[in-house]
Symmetry: C2
Subunit: 197 residues, 2 copies
């Protein structure tokens, strides 16, 4: 099992946005859409054992479960439409209970701290430019990778990860977009004997 938590600092939590302007009125939702693409899609295939958590404004968490997803396409507009429906479903999510907008897509009204509490801390791996190069790191068997969108981790987010002892890694010498980083992480795991995807 591979899981990815992608932190969206500016992405909207209001479903009333236009699919024609996901970079603007949806608050750079395009960044998160590309992250979902990178996490799941193979050429004529799909990584069914992956789960993705999108944390929006530390307020809402949308969970994509690979084994249950249906009708998701790799383009940004299609993924943005799925996210819009998931945001809309948040009205039906009460307390820590999730609501579902489609098979494999679940929305909850909580942020990063509560989400992180649902994982054993030894699974947490933070992707950050100052981390250990991935070939030099020892990864957990069922890693939960954390990534930030186009903005840096906030001090609060960094503190939540530090207090849980999350390992910090990086995938190369360049600072990369979150989706490109996910692609490289998958390829590293594929190539180095982490066979389940």
């Amino acid at each position: 099992m591979r899981e990815f938590i992608l932190i969206g600092h500016t992405a909207t939590i209001d479903p009333e946005f236009s699919l024609d302007d996901i970079t603007g009125n949806a608050g750079r939702l395009d960044v998160l859409c590309r992250g979902v693409n990178a996490a799941f899609f193979l050429s004529h295939g799909f990584r069914h054992s992956v789960t993705v958590h999108l944390v929006l404004q530390d307020t809402m968490t949308i969970r994509f479960v690979g084994e249950s997803l249906r009708n998701l396409h790799p383009d940004e507009r299609n993924i943005a439409a799925a996210i819009r429906n998931a945001i809309d479903a948040s009205r039906e999510a009460v307390g820590h209970q999730e609501a579902s907008s489609a098979p494999g897509i679940h929305t909850a009204n909580y942020g990063l701290d509560t989400l992180l509490d649902s994982f054993s801390p030894d699974r947490l791996v933070q992707l950050i430019e100052t981390g250990t190069p991935i070939p030099d790191a020892t990864l957990p068997q069922d890693p939960v990778f954390l990534l930030s969108d186009h903005e840096d981790y906030t001090e609060t987010e960094q503190a939540l990860l530090t207090e849980r002892g999350a390992e910090s890694i990086r995938v190369g010498p360049e600072a990369l977009h979150a989706d490109h980083t996910i692609t490289i992480v998958h390829n590293y795991l594929d190539t180095n004997g982490y066979t389940e995807y």
Copy 2:
């Protein structure tokens, strides 16, 4: 210098398509848009030394020159709009002369054979699932990587590459989307001392 040739088998060569339907009426243009994204964009940066050639229906070639590009954004819709303008500019391209629709974007009315003739054959590297794993390959100093879109290389394309002696490589055990492959190639070069980007 890193160059990428991305072969689009179904992408439209008619500029009269809607940016709201780039997966449909534009013939999976989304695949090529993501390839352009992967080739150029870094987190808060840009790979200025990269050139991308999009070959559409073996009829039209659009060249993106990193050092000259302006106002290109990483989202599919923005890149699709740039491609639409480039397709429209093809009306002004006569013979083997290119026409330019924007700084760093040039269109010519020729296909793969003519494009390949512009490169020294020892620069050509074909990305294909049956190739040599990239760590086991010896790459040229200024590689020109060829990738196919969501469809396989045609017999004609394969023959053009075989007769020029293009090296065949792959980036991992999974069959990946073209844009994901570009991301991994960049990361491999970044990490293994191919310093210019």
